[in-house]
């Protein structure tokens, strides 16, 4: 570690607090980065990493606490201000434009121009300006080659070069390796070490604890918006990180009576999803069971749900409902077989939010209300009213557009559209995201009613309390594969996290 000496550290975040409506995202968080130091920042989904980075990037301002750079307190009011302070971001999703070449991307927005009224681009100046940051990363400028013709890793290098060309001294990498191959990852980590040797400070955010352990000088762990602990170089280990990430002893939800042996409602055998053709997944959901599906963001859980529902049909494998094989090519095949999906994103996929509560509740089952192909208004309306009453959907009328409802009530509509008749298998993807506490409890009790009626529920959730509190068993995915299935006796946040981060290390 290169000591900051008598000088100030590059970055000091002191007691920063940030509150959003209903959530305390950060609560007195501290973070220090010295020049020539790589700090690993880890935590579960929702631990506050993104919020902290948004404060440094000028997206949000802290409610309390201060950010100090080179010993001077600063206010970062915009992305521009953040760049001016020498902070550079490498985002998980690349922000380079793939129709421009590397120099065009690196100098985007501050292109050198020749004099004259037309402000023509000065290609020669662009090339020479781009050459230096690219050379630091050991790659060629390849002028004229649009980025779409480069590999993902090369594009990422261009993104880093863009940050370097702005004289960034503090480089923040958010899950930089999530889409890279192992070889490309090694190369990126080598670049991180180079940056460190050249005196830059690096914050490395990653779910892959192995690579954090491999190159961080120090690891800062966040949990529930607070500092959970810090590990110095020699203390860093996979298990210690996991323990700090998980921390609290979770109060066990009251164990449900042992389930009688039931036939599986859903059997999945060797299912291969288009997004990850090299992984096959097999599991079962019993009738009357809630199987929680845990994993980190990007582990492939939603893709699995979409394959089961025919949104992106599986490439291979068998799906059996109540023991009968079903060929799922379109959502209507899945629906006919008794599989329903409440997708993660209500606004783009779960609901047509501009349409009314009635129209949304009946969209998936219009056939029930027709005579000679025409929808009978009264039975449809009665049905919608009945659903609203049964699910306690609070809406001024069934004719109100769904977008005028609260998040919790919208979600109840998104679930309620699948309940007549109840499906055999209900897949819920993040069923309580963005839902207030009261509606959350109502959705849980609705789920319990359904399983008591013999429905099998597959619940994808990134909320650990929800996964452990609601599920009968928990399956954990890691990078497209099923890393393990835990029965109630093996439940524990640590056990889940260990599987979710891939406990190879």
């Amino acid at each position: 570690m290169i000591p900051g000496g008598a000088d100030h550290p590059l970055l000091e975040v002191r007691g920063v607090t940030k509150r959003f409506p209903g959530v305390l995202a950060l609560d007195g968080v501290n973070l220090t980065v010295k020049a020539g130091e790589v700090v690993g920042l880890v935590g579960e989904n929702g631990a506050g990493k993104s919020t902290l980075m948004n404060l440094l990037g000028g997206v949000h301002q802290p409610d309390a606490g201060s950010i100090v750079i080179d010993g001077r307190p600063v206010e970062i009011r915009s992305a521009r201000a953040s760049i001016a302070l020498g902070i550079g971001f490498i985002h998980q999703e690349l922000t380079v434009l793939d129709n421009l070449d590397a120099p065009g991307n690196i100098l985007l927005g501050r292109e050198p121009v020749r004099g004259g009224p037309l402000r023509l681009l000065d290609r020669a100046a662009m090339l020479s300006a781009a050459r230096e940051p690219l050379a630091r990363l050991g790659i060629a400028a390849s002028p004229g080659v649009p980025l779409r013709d480069l590999s993902l890793a090369q594009r990422q290098m261009v993104e880093i070069a863009k940050v370097l060309s702005r004289h960034a001294r503090l480089i923040i990498m958010d899950e930089p390796t999530s889409r890279l191959t192992p070889a490309e990852t090694d190369r990126l980590l080598a670049v991180v070490r180079d940056l460190k040797a050249q005196g830059a400070g690096v914050i490395l955010i990653s779910h892959r604890l192995g690579e954090v352990g491999a190159c961080a000088d120090r690891v800062v762990v966040l949990r529930d918006g607070r500092n959970a602990g810090e590990l110095a170089r020699q203390e860093i280990s996979h298990d210690r990180m996991v323990r700090l990430m998980v921390g609290r002893e979770l109060a066990r939800a009251p164990a449900r009576a042992a389930l009688p042996e039931r036939a599986p409602a859903l059997e999945v055998r060797g299912l291969v999803v288009r997004a990850r053709p090299q992984c096959a997944v097999s599991f079962e959901v019993a009738a009357g069971e809630i199987l929680g599906l845990a994993g980190l963001v990007g582990a492939g859980r939603s893709e699995l749900a979409q394959a089961l529902f025919g949104i992106d049909p599986p490439l291979a494998g068998d799906i059996l409902v109540d023991g009968r094989p079903v060929a799922v090519r379109f959502p209507r095949d899945a629906i006919a077989a008794g599989i329903a999906l409440v997708p993660e994103d209500r606004h783009t996929a779960g609901l047509v939010v501009e349409m009314t509560v009635r129209e949304n509740l009946t969209l998936a089952c219009l056939g029930q209300f027709t005579r000679i192909g025409l929808i009978r208004a009264k039975p449809e309306k009665d049905f919608a009213r009945g659903r609203c009453a049964a699910l306690a959907i609070r809406t001024p009328s069934v004719e109100a557009p769904v977008q005028s409802l609260s998040g919790g009530n919208q979600q109840k509509v998104a679930v309620g559209k699948w309940l007549s008749p109840p499906p055999r298998v209900l897949i819920l993807d993040e069923p309580t995201r963005g839902v207030d506490v009261g509606a959350k409890a109502e959705i849980y009790s609705l789920m319990r009613d359904l399983v008591e009626g013999g429905v099998g529920i597959l619940m994808i959730s990134s909320d650990m309390e929800e996964v452990l509190g609601v599920s009968d068993r928990v399956a954990v995915m890691h990078e497209g594969r099923l890393a393990g299935v835990l029965g109630r006796d093996a439940f524990g946040e640590e056990a889940v996290m260990r599987l979710a981060v891939g406990s190879a290390g």
């Binding site: 996929a349 609901l351 047509v352 969209l363």
Partner: protein, 322 residues
């Protein structure tokens, strides 16, 4: 009627009253009949265009389609001596099949509707001119079964084409507002992904809309051909797709998709016809025809947008009834 449809009806009434006040000839039987006839001819294919627009797409090909269909129909009846029933069946099936092709290209090949139908516009016009050898084709004075009467005749003083429009509007209105297909069409236009997640066969729904657009263009096209009685392949139907789009937009369809009403489209068509008539009757130079129409549509859409901003969430364009 929804508020938007009422506002449109009011606009139509004001335009009629103003024109009538300035020139009483507006209320003459011949003038009214003529306007009703043209509204009928234009309204039928405008409803079809509305279906394509509700999916979030467009159909630019109808004007050229009229030329191609008209030329072929005239040649079939006059030069090849087909029976009128056979010729009409072909004149209806052809446009519907081309509509299906447009839909197939949009859905299966994932091409943009604007481009697909723009190519249709170019290809059909070229084909019409080539097949007709760039000569004007016509029907002469023959009646060809009921065809001439349908295009130019009246029932109890009401032009047949207007009666036909009302019938088409009644059927499509019921389909849009009360059938499963109509609900699926509106849902798909609003949010195709959410519709797919609800099990709606969105590909078939979109293809269906283009078939409807082609088929109704086929119906209109036959009537228009007999109304003009002679088809000059280079100019027949020029800009008609734009009249249709204008009527649909004025009638409450948004090009984003998911919104539209049959009643609105019919009133929108009528407004456009009254505007043209107004230009003629008030002695406005007819060269200003398009400018007047464009200005009124712009003002109408602007007014709707501004009213929509005042009433949050109240775009108003929900189809309630026909």
């Amino acid at each position: 009627m929804s508020r938007k449809e009422l506002a449109l009806a009011l606009l139509l009434a004001v335009l009629c009253a103003a024109t009538a006040a300035l020139n009483p000839r507006f209320l003459g039987v011949d003038n009214l009949q003529n306007m009703a006839r043209l509204t009928g001819l234009f309204g039928i294919f405008s409803i079809g265009l509305g279906a394509a627009i509700i999916t979030g797409g467009i159909d630019l090909s109808v004007g050229s389609l009229f030329a191609l269909q008209g030329v072929l129909l005239a040649m079939a009846l006059r030069e090849w001596n087909w029976g009128w029933a056979v010729a009409v069946a072909a004149a209806l099936a052809g446009p519907a099949a081309l509509g299906w092709l447009h839909g197939w290209l949009v859905v299966r090949m994932r091409l943009q509707p604007f481009i697909v139908t723009l190519c249709g516009l170019l290809v059909y016009r070229g084909a019409a001119r080539f097949l007709a050898n760039d000569e004007t084709k016509g029907f002469g004075s023959g009646n060809f079964g009921p065809l001439r009467a349908l295009a130019a005749g009246d029932v109890l003083g009401v032009p047949m084409s207007f009666v036909l429009l009302l019938a088409v509007a009644a059927v499509t209105g019921v389909l849009l507002n009360r059938s499963v297909y109509g609900r699926w069409l509106l849902a798909t236009g609003r949010n195709e992904e959410a519709a797919r997640y609800s099990g709606v066969p969105t590909a078939r729904v979109i293809m269906g809309a283009y078939v409807v657009s082609g088929a109704l263009a086929g119906v209109s096209g036959i009537l228009i051909a007999f109304y003009t009685n002679s088809i000059s392949p280079a100019s027949h139907g020029n800009f008609y797709e734009l009249y249709g789009i204008a009527a649909a937009v004025l009638g409450g369809c948004t090009l984003r998709g998911g919104e539209g009403s049959v009643t609105g489209i019919v009133i929108g068509t009528a407004i456009l016809q009254v505007l043209q008539n107004l230009v003629n009757l008030l002695g406005i130079p007819s060269s200003l025809n398009f400018a007047v129409m464009g200005a009124v549509i712009l003002l109408g859409v602007l007014a709707d947008e501004l009213v929509g901003r005042w009433r949050p969430g109240g775009g108003g364009g929900r189809p309630n009834s026909t």
